[in-house]
Amino acid sequence: MKSISRKEAMAGYSFASPWLVGFLLFMAYPLAASIYFSLCDYSVLKAPVWVGLDNYAMLLHDELFWTALKNTMIYAVFALPAGMATAIILAMLLNSKVKGMAAYRTFFFIPSLVPQVSLAILWRWVLDGEHGVLNPLLNKLHIPGPNWLGDPHWVMPSLVIMAMWGVGNAMLIYLAGLQDVPVQLIEAADLDGATSWQKTKNVTLPMISPVILFNLVMGIIGSLQVFTVPYIMFPNGAPAHSTYFYTEYLFDNAFRYHKMGYASAMGWLMFVMILILTMFSLKMSEKHVHYQGS
């Protein structure tokens, strides 16, 4: 019996070994190594030199680190709720029984398939203050279009608007959650004379609250790691570092300034920040998230 279970275990590990080997080589080892590198002066090309907590101490006094962190937090504070609200509203609209719904769902999901680099170039053409598509449309409505990409006050709103373009994935998850809301609960609310808003507030949203929590956590991780679009659209965080994000500074330190130790320290600080925010979200959710099985 023992020999059979050992054989089964071996077979199981063998089947899982491609993943296990890949995980150990490409995830576990780099993760562990980056902890060590974060405590070293390391340029990738020369042997790391132990400096203890120097990199972390330097980060605290690095003005650009705080600028990049501030920009990232501001972006997350606006882009995350805006993206979540847009995704929920779209999912609710796409959950209604209207003819041709499959086409509508496809239409709203497709933008999230557009590669980030293409998206950045596309939005340049839309938001360009001089030759863009958006400002002439606003002018027709007698709204003076701002310099979306050149004015430090408008670049962040531009990025938040762009973030909403890619809500397709979150929308799809909400849609799946909405389709799981028991019909009898809605019918019971109907019998009680509940209005649409009351049904949404008291039945639908609580029933999809685990999905909202999941998207919130994924959104925190995603928005704090925003990189591609601002990196392509606003080189060097222009204008005047107003769009210079945490991950861009991390990338520059690692690959342009050859300060991999410093970049590793930034990476671990980001991990801790995401961990704290995620734990906080989970803690806060205890009173507001309802699981059907509980």
């Binding site: 080589l25 490409f26 002066d41 340029s43 990738v44 090309l45 020369k46 003005e63 650009l64 170039i121 340049r124 360009d128 203050g129 001089e130 030759h131 863009g132 310099n147 990409l149 050149g150 004015d151 430090p152 060097n236 965080g237 222009a238 204008p239 005047a240 570092h241 520059d252 690959f255 342009r256 300034y257 050859h258």
Partner: protein
């Protein structure tokens, strides 16, 4: 790194031709890549011992760095001139002193700044491939249109300012529709304005001098354009030019920007996108007497990365590229100047750029400026670009912005020099 190494092993083609295969990564694409391919093809056909395998690689600085650290670098990497010190500091490229000595490659054959660009603390790490200088490019048709003499480009900064005023066109609401000159266009040498005004970026020893009075004056001049035409109006106007350099929408080709600083390569792009454009090139105006013919020394270089498998054969190819024949073949195909002092009969005469003599003359200018030879230049350059942005949008005064960069970079320079000292490389 493991992925790169694994894929390298799996994809390595069999070498059954008996030749030593030298891998050569180059950053160029399009016509510039075709030019180096012509040289490589010529070399491969000219002998039967070495086969150079050329590959166009985007983001070559990062990929070379990763390949070196993974132990599978190319045998030759075509980097940018300002990269050399950083890569030499990090021991990513090999010293070429002995190879150059044995191969007969000598400093005295080159125009000084192009040889100097490959030198780090007395050793040669890179050899020039295609060099360039910059000059003022101006739209002759627009000069005529506003009543300026197209044969009399500005000789001083004051003249440049007054001509720019005449050439700039605005709508009554302040909306800019044409600029005479913008210091931020194309924005590739924002660091050079200080040196053009007689300033220095560091004192060559241990001090960042970015906030020197000469540099402050230069950036006050930069900010004067924002003050004159409106920071917001200029920002809005210029935002539309992003990514249009190699296209018919390039503001110089469309006549939206009448004068700009550009390199010897500009001819290629005008020829490609608007061959009918009536333009000319002249020395950039002097900020004050004694600073005539200011120009930026810009170049691409060839290095042998540390860990290259075929150093000897790679250098054999470099020897051919660095010969008068090789360099002229490459530079003529890219329509640039040659870094060598000796020029073959016909090189200038057959050169398509009508201003090639000017660009060659500028390479010898005593007011030619180069990026500082500092391993922290990538970061310093980024800081300067950010300060330039702050100055043009007028969020800071030039003095404030330059002080901030100086205060931020000085500790980094101190640390950089300290590390070199510890390693005995100062």
């Amino acid at each position: 790194m493991l992925t790169v190494y694994g894929s390298e092993l799996l994809t390595k083609p069999p070498k059954a031709d008996g030749k030593v295969h030298v891998t050569y990564w180059e950053k160029w694409t399009g016509a510039e890549f075709d030019a180096i391919k012509g040289v490589v093809d010529y070399y491969n056909k000219s002998q039967d011992k070495i086969q150079v395998d050329l590959l166009s690689v985007s983001g070559i600085e990062n990929k070379t760095l990763m390949a070196v650290s993974g132990g599978i670098p190319p045998d030759i990497a075509g980097l940018y001139g300002p990269n050399v010190t950083q890569y030499a500091d990090d021991h990513a490229v090999i010293q070429l002193d002995d190879l150059c000595r044995e191969g007969g490659i000598k400093a005295e054959d080159y125009i000084a700044p192009y040889w100097e660009a490959g030198m780090v603390r007395g050793h040669i790490y890179a050899l020039p491939s295609t060099p360039a200088t910059t000059a003022l490019h101006y739209n002759r048709a627009l000069f005529k249109k506003v009543g300026l003499d197209p044969d009399q480009p500005p000789k001083t900064i004051d003249e440049l300012n007054s001509m720019a005023d005449k050439l700039t066109k605005r709508e009554p609401n302040g909306h800019v529709i044409r600029t005479g000159f913008m210091p931020g266009e194309p924005g590739w040498w924002n660091w050079a304005w200080g040196p053009f005004f007689g300033g220095k970026l560091w004192d060559g020893e241990g001090k960042i001098t970015f906030n020197s009075p000469e540099n402050v004056k230069a950036y006050e001049w930069v900010q004067s354009f924002s003050k004159k035409w409106g920071a917001s109006a200029l920002q809005s106007f210029q935002a539309g030019f992003s990514g249009t350099f190699s296209s018919p929408q390039n503001p110089f080709m469309t006549g939206q920007n009448a004068m700009e600083i550009q390199g010897v390569w500009m001819y290629n792009f005008v020829h490609m996108y608007n061959p009918k454009l009536d333009w000319a090139a002249a020395s950039f105006p002097a900020a004050k007497p004694g600073l005539e013919d200011p120009t930026v020394i810009d170049l691409d270089v060839l290095c042998i990365p540390v860990g290259a498998k075929h150093t000897k054969e790679a250098f054999e190819f470099l020897k051919f590229v660095e010969s008068q024949k090789g360099l002229e073949m490459l530079c003529l195909a890219q329509k640039k100047i040659t870094p060598l002092k000796a020029v073959s009969p016909g090189f200038i005469e057959h050169h398509p750029n009508p201003f090639i003599k000017l660009f060659i003359k500028l390479a010898y200018s005593k007011n030619a400026v180069s990026t500082p030879k500092l391993g922290i230049w990538a970061q310093y350059g980024d800081e300067i670009n950010n300060a330039f942005s702050e100055i043009t949008i007028m969020s800071k005064t030039p003095k404030q912005a330059l002080d901030d960069v100086t205060n931020r970079m000085q500790p980094m320079l101190d640390k950089y020099l300290e590390r070199l000292k510890i390693r005995g490389e100062q």
